[in-house]
């Protein structure tokens, strides 16, 4: 489409004059003008070319001629030529090479504006050959004295990465970019952050290029106060990806970014909200959390007063926020009342949030609003409003009666779609409050004829069937529906079938004929669902009517009002993506992005630990990677997704490069897996327990010293500790908490310590543990991070859980299964290990092992070896198959391990 030039006039000031064309070939004319002797004419010609390009016309044929104009002192002309080059260089790569000399020359110009312009344009020319020539000028510009050039160069690295990532890495540009993070100019820092985050997003591994530690974050926070609004967004997003190491740090970061909530730019506001929402998870200080909650309210409400597009994104995010922390907006329901001239997409979102915020305190207001919306023009909106009234009834029991009355009033309006929607929600109300509002059934039956939508018809039929004993003409009504059975929607057919069966069971004498009719209709259809349900009813009714009654008329579970909430784990993930596209779609990025970068984000849980800062930092990022899951999946060929269980390699691998089998390879002793064998040597008949180790020296524990170990007693895991108070004050108010760990170990009971613990006093504590907590990979796998709170403060320490406490009592595997599984598992799952200095008697081994829940499946005598096959099951359903070869002579026994994971799904496979 060509835009038509407006009328001619001498005083025409704008650029429209560049569209005036004659009948002759336009390109031909431009070519002549571009080669004109006069400067002004050339400039106007280039402008005409640009104007043509802007509207999407192809003027690439003029490439050589435009290129000729590049050598000029006139900055405007130079800029225009550069604009042209950016667009067309890709289609004319050979000619584009000709421009390089000028670019390189310009990148060394005395004027910083020209230097920056050259480097900027060069980065935009997406031609491989040019990118090689770009390296030297880019390196110079990254070290330029002028910050304007530097910040342009920072972005240029991201551009180059997009074209040729290998080149960027080889040339060391990433390191130079990282150095810019410490630049004295805040704009440069902001651009470097932006460039780094873009490179991270597009890099295939998705692993952050820079490990953000507290010093790096500190630098960013300083830059945050000074840089422009857009830079603040990038910085805040980086801060959001960082997990503070302890609560105090989280608090101090929060305090430093709170002023950003008052920024005029909505995107800055929302990015700040993201950081705060995430950090609130870490902070345990209730008062601080309350303060944050109070601070978050006004900016979120203010976002609703902005342009509709901003409002929409804000509303989608608020929808997530109120699901997690309703207290932030619980008193602001009025802000979500709908204006009749709001765009429809805003109306629907507001309505959704209104319902979420409905409570006893405000339901009166909400209800009268909803009733008002019932008379709006927009059909979708009216329907949703009617539905919302039903949800109010379900949510607030005290007001259910008023909601039902309102629904009845709406039914009286006889507006077709209102009535249908009302019938659907009244069905839900009946399911929530059975035997309470049946009085209105009569009114509902009056509007039976107007229902033409499947959902409304199905709901009505359900109501008739459910209350068949109270509706005198239930049989007639259902028979009426039955006439057009074949034409009904499947939803209605299924419901009709069930309703008639219910009717038959309640009033058998009247409806025998009807039920036969419907059963024969249902069993003759092509739809398998309907047919099967028909047959099931048929058989039930003919075999055992009493059983049929029990099944069909059984009491139904009450429905809950939380049915539309997002699943908690998804919600948590989405909260990490506040302000991004994911928060608008309410889907994790992996669900809609073309290329998913490796990381999935998760809210931090509870406290983190301050020991071993660097390793922890890396670890917390490790654990959010998806890679380990994939590996295990590949190796074991079983679907692990349902449990979300993650395993990763630990230590150095002994056999195959990286596989979960390494779990048991080199670090057997470290894991404590060797312990049962050691135990076999000693003559103790009881299950093995390792001696207590010093977990927390008094110097680190503010006077509290802890020795501890883990044992398995009566098929439960206990944490046994000796607490000694070495300080001069009595200690009291003990409490314990674990960080998320590989085995989901959590305290099953609160910590019971005789309180107060006097100075120099000591006590023994045995804490029952369970393995039902949330799971997060730790390194090493059996690492456990513990926090103990007492009157002095919170103390952190880490300890290792010996592996054998996770061996469960039901680890005896069926022989056949064992055999087939052993064969099925590929060789790379196998790890071999030689135990030294052990002279073993196979009988004793079997007996000792059994005490430790290592079950012997079979025993063979092969040549000069005794071979034992054993199975172990861990609390997380991971099976370990063991083969022990015990030579008859003096040499060492060899142990082979095979490991596989049994998810809920594959369990069936094994048992069948």
């Amino acid at each position: 489409m060509l835009p038509h030039a407006v009328s001619f006039s001498i005083l025409k000031t704008g650029d429209a004059k560049y569209f005036t064309t004659t009948k002759k070939g336009e390109v031909f004319e431009l070519k002549a003008e571009l080669n004109s002797d006069k400067k002004e004419r050339r400039r106007d010609a280039v402008k005409k070319v640009i104007a043509a390009m802007t509207v999407g016309k192809d003027v690439s044929a003029l490439f050589p001629d435009v290129l000729n104009c590049m050598q000029t002192d006139n900055l405007e002309l130079k800029k225009l030529v550069y604009l042209y080059l950016m667009n067309y260089a890709k289609s004319q790569p050979d000619l584009a090479i000709m421009a390089i000399n000028t670019f390189v020359k310009d990148s060394g110009d005395a004027n910083p504006l020209i230097r920056a312009l050259a480097i900027r344009t060069m980065g935009c020319i997406r031609v491989d050959k040019i990118s090689e020539y770009l390296c030297d000028p880019l390196r110079n510009c990254l070290k330029d004295n002028d910050p304007y050039v530097k910040k342009t160069a920072a972005v240029c690295v991201a551009k180059l990465y997009d074209i040729n990532p290998q080149l960027v890495e080889d040339q060391g540009f990433l390191d130079e970019l990282k150095e810019l993070l410490s630049d004295s100019n805040q704009m440069v820092v902001a651009n470097a952050v932006a460039a780094l985050s873009e490179i991270t997003d597009s890099s295939p591994s998705g692993t952050p290029l820079v490990w953000m530690d507290s010093t790096a974050i500190n630098k960013l926070l300083i830059a945050l106060n000074e840089c422009a609004e857009w830079g603040q967004i990038f910085i805040l997003d980086s801060v959001a990806n960082y997990t503070p190491q302890h609560e105090l740090e989280a608090q101090s970061i929060c305090e430093r970014i709170i002023p950003r909530l008052a920024h005029a730019n909505a995107a800055v506001k929302l990015s700040t909200v993201k950081v705060l929402m995430k950090y609130m998870e870490i902070i345990t200080d209730a008062e601080f959390v309350n303060m944050l909650t109070r601070k978050l309210t006004p900016p979120l409400v203010t976002l609703l007063a902005s342009e509709p597009e901003l409002q929409y994104v804000a509303l989608r995010n608020i929808n997530l926020i109120v699901q997690k922390r309703p207290e932030i907006l619980k008193r602001e329901v009025k802000a979500f009342f709908v204006n009749y001239n709001d765009p429809i997409y805003i109306k629907l979102e507001k309505l959704d949030i209104m319902i979420r915020l409905t409570s006893k305190e405000n339901i009166g207001q909400v209800l009268s609003e909803l009733k008002e919306y019932g008379s709006e023009v927009d059909v979708d909106f009216v329907r949703k409003s009617v539905r919302a009234i039903g949800r109010c009834a379900i949510k607030v029991e005290e007001f259910s009666e008023r909601c039902v009355t309102t629904l009845l009033e709406l039914i009286q309006t006889k507006v077709n779609y209102v009535v249908q929607e009302a019938v659907v929600v009244i069905k839900d109300v009946f399911r929530k409050y059975p035997n309470k509002y049946e009085g209105i059934i009569g009114i509902l039956c009056e509007c039976l004829d107007t229902l033409d939508e499947p959902e409304a018809r199905a709901s009505m039929i359900w109501i008739i069937g459910e209350y068949a004993e109270r509706i005198d003409n239930a049989g007639d009504l259902l028979e009426g529906f039955l006439h057009g059975f074949a034409d009904e929607n499947i939803q209605v057919q299924l419901q009709l079938l069930t309703a008639i069966v219910k009717l038959f069971l309640k009033r058998p004498s009247e409806s025998q004929e009807l039920v036969q009719q419907v059963l024969s209709l249902a069993t003759q259809t092509d739809n398998p669902d309907l047919r099967d349900r028909g047959f099931i009813y048929w058989r039930l009714l003919s075999a055992d009517p009493a059983a049929a009654k029990e099944v069909v008329l059984s009491e139904k579970p009450l429905i809950l009002d939380e049915m539309d909430l997002l699943e908690p784990s998804l919600l948590d993930e989405l909260l990490c993506h506040i302000s991004s596209l994911a928060s608008v779609y309410h889907k994790p990025p992996s669900a809609f992005m073309d290329e998913v970068s490796g990381q999935r984000k998760a809210l931090p849980i509870g406290f983190q630990f301050s020991e071993e800062t660097s390793s922890l930092d890396a670890q917390s990022i490790d654990s959010s990677e998806e890679c380990p899951v994939v590996e295990v999946e590949d190796l074991l060929g079983v679907d692990m997704a349902p449990t979300g269980f993650e395993y990763g390699p630990i230590g150095q691998s002994a056999t195959s490069g990286e596989s979960s089998v390494d779990l048991l390879s080199s670090s057997l002793d470290e894991l404590g897996l060797g312990n049962p064998f050691l135990c076999a040597l000693s003559a103790i008949p009881a299950p093995y327990s390792s001696p207590k180790a010093l977990w927390l020296p008094a110097a680190k524990g503010k006077g509290l010293e802890i020795y501890g170990t883990f044992v398995r007693k009566n098929q439960e895991i206990y944490m046994e500790m000796t607490l000694t108070n070495q300080s001069t004050d009595a200690l009291s108010d003990f409490a314990i908490q674990f960080n998320k760990n590989s085995f989901g170990v959590i305290p099953a009971l609160p910590l019971q310590v005789p309180s107060p613990l006097p100075p120099n006093g000591s006590c023994e504590v045995s804490l029952l543990l369970s393995t039902t907590g949330s799971i997060q990979k730790t390194n090493p796998l059996n690492n456990l991070q513990v926090a103990i709170k007492n009157s002095v403060g919170v103390l952190y320490f880490t300890c290792l859980i010996p592996m054998h406490v996770f061996f469960t009592g039901d680890g005896q595997m069926d022989r056949r299964v064992f055999l087939s599984t052993w064969k099925e598992l590929p060789a790379q799952h196998e790890v071999q290990y030689t135990l030294e200095n052990m002279a073993l008697n196979p009988d004793i081994v079997v007996q000792k092992m059994k005490q430790n829940n290592v079950f012997t499946i079979a025993r063979q005598h092969v040549e000069d070896h005794d071979v034992l096959y054993q199975s172990i099951k861990l609390t997380n359903n991971l099976w370990i198959l063991v083969e022990i070869r015990i030579p008859l002579g003096e040499s060492f026994p060899t142990v082979s391990w095979l490991i596989f994971f049994v998810g809920a799904l594959s369990m069936n496979r094994i048992l069948s």
């Binding site: 909505a266 006004p298 007063a305 009749y340 779609y585």
Partner: protein, 414 residues
């Protein structure tokens, strides 16, 4: 980040495109057009659209769609804010922003867009800086440029670009030093049939027009700053000072800008300056509306207009207003009554008959009425500036503060 921008008019022509990375075919807009077909009103266009490989983020302003194309996960608010900023800059440069204006200034627009974004990252979005890089067009300069051969692109780096106050250019000089502040408050309210308030909020702004030489450092104090508990600031305002002393301290940008915007939520009691007495019955075909002032602190209510969107079945209205003019648009079904000033001794009234389409179904629902008004010399929240001081420069500027209260989304349900 932002990959490309398409500007599309309401009839669906893409009349401008700009790509900051590789060129994306405009066929990507087909997804937009598909969505456009589904909507009844142009404002209903969903702001975020997903296509198989791209995300289209749209704003609708000045009767045009500005469609940004992104390929990676971006904060949509960032894109929307940026698009609005683009339109702001166009309005600033050309006085207004419309399809014909854009077409007339293609090259400047193209240069501006290129200056505002680099590889999808915002580069210079402050109008002060842009104006130093690319001169806004005006007739005299264009003539002069044609004569002298000069261009409207500056050859030097803008001075403010990298300082800690990027919003202000250096070397500003005025013969008359003036600083004007407008405290504007918009009342958003929903009033129900009986005249009681369903919700009422105030959206307030302090807009400035500052023409001061050099580097003035201003402080503004309010008599009652406690009213302002939810404020958004222009980046020039020193937040710490506000937190501790409730004083607005800032080095202002040159020219027009919004210093703060604030929000007074429905938690506090908001004075409603106007009321409506109404009777409307479609069955009898009658309408009677009277407008009167309510809590106006003795100020006159001006520029009053009443807008009634009628149900589809209404063919025409024959009304008699006691003052002002009325019109009924039978296509959009909107009754518009421009009342003018309200004289409290003689309240404006409009009454008459409504004619309905013969045989149409009885109308049960009643419309909501949009009311507009202006009250000068009053900020409905009661906010008052107590003093304005200038430091850093020697001259004595002329200072002025004006208060205006307006209707925002002010709706009365009949």
């Amino acid at each position: 980040m932002i990959h490309s921008l398409f500007i599309i008019n309401t009839s669906g022509d893409v009349f401008m495109e700009k790509h900051w990375k590789s060129v994306i075919s405009r066929s990507v807009c087909d997804y937009f057009f598909e969505e456009q077909k589904k909507i009844t009103s142009p404002i209903d266009m969903p702001p975020v659209l997903a296509t198989p490989h791209h995300y289209l983020i749209t704003i609708f302003r000045c009767n045009m769609y500005f469609v940004a194309v992104c390929t990676t996960e971006v904060p949509p608010l960032f894109v929307i804010e940026f698009l609005h900023r683009v339109v702001d800059i166009f309005e600033d440069y050309f006085g207004e922003c419309s399809e014909s204006i854009i077409k007339e200034h293609y090259v400047i627009i193209f240069e501006l867009l290129d200056e505002m974004l680099d590889n999808g990252f915002p580069l210079a979005t402050e109008s002060n800086i842009l104006k130093e890089l690319i001169k806004p067009p005006n007739i005299l300069r264009t003539i002069a440029n044609t004569v002298t051969g000069k261009s409207n692109v500056s050859c030097t780096l803008p001075s403010g670009q990298l300082s800690n106050i990027p919003w202000r250019r250096s070397g500003v000089k005025y013969a008359n030093n003036e600083a004007y502040f407008d405290v504007i408050e918009e009342v958003d309210a929903i009033i129900d049939k009986s005249g009681s308030t369903v919700s009422a909020e105030i959206q307030g702004y302090v807009d400035c027009c500052i023409k001061l030489s050099g580097m003035p450092d201003l402080t503004m104090t309010f008599i009652n700053p406690r009213i302002l508990d939810d404020v958004s600031f222009h980046p020039c305002v020193r937040f710490k000072r506000w937190e501790s002393e409730k004083v607005l301290s800032f080095i202002p940008p040159d020219g027009n800008f919004r210093l703060i915007s604030y929000h007074i939520s429905s938690q506090s009691i908001v004075a409603i300056p106007i009321y409506l007495k109404h009777f409307i019955s479609f069955r009898e075909g009658k309408l009677d509306i009277t407008v009167g002032p309510k809590q106006t602190m003795g100020r006159q209510v001006e520029n009053v207009s009443v807008e009634v969107p009628m149900p589809k079945a209404v063919l025409n209205c024959t009304l008699v207003p006691s003052q002002g003019k009325y019109s009924y648009d039978p296509v959009s079904k909107v009754l518009q009554w421009d009342v003018g000033k309200i004289d409290p001794t003689k309240l404006p009234n409009i009454k008459g008959s409504i004619s309905l389409q013969a045989g149409s179904a009885p109308i049960e629902s009643n419309p909501a009425v949009n009311v507009n008004f202006t009250i000068n010399q009053m900020a409905v929240s009661g906010l008052k500036v107590s003093r304005l001081d200038m430091y850093g420069e020697k001259y004595r500027p002329f200072k002025g503060v004006k208060y205006i209260t307006k209707a925002g989304k002010f709706q009365i349900r009949l």
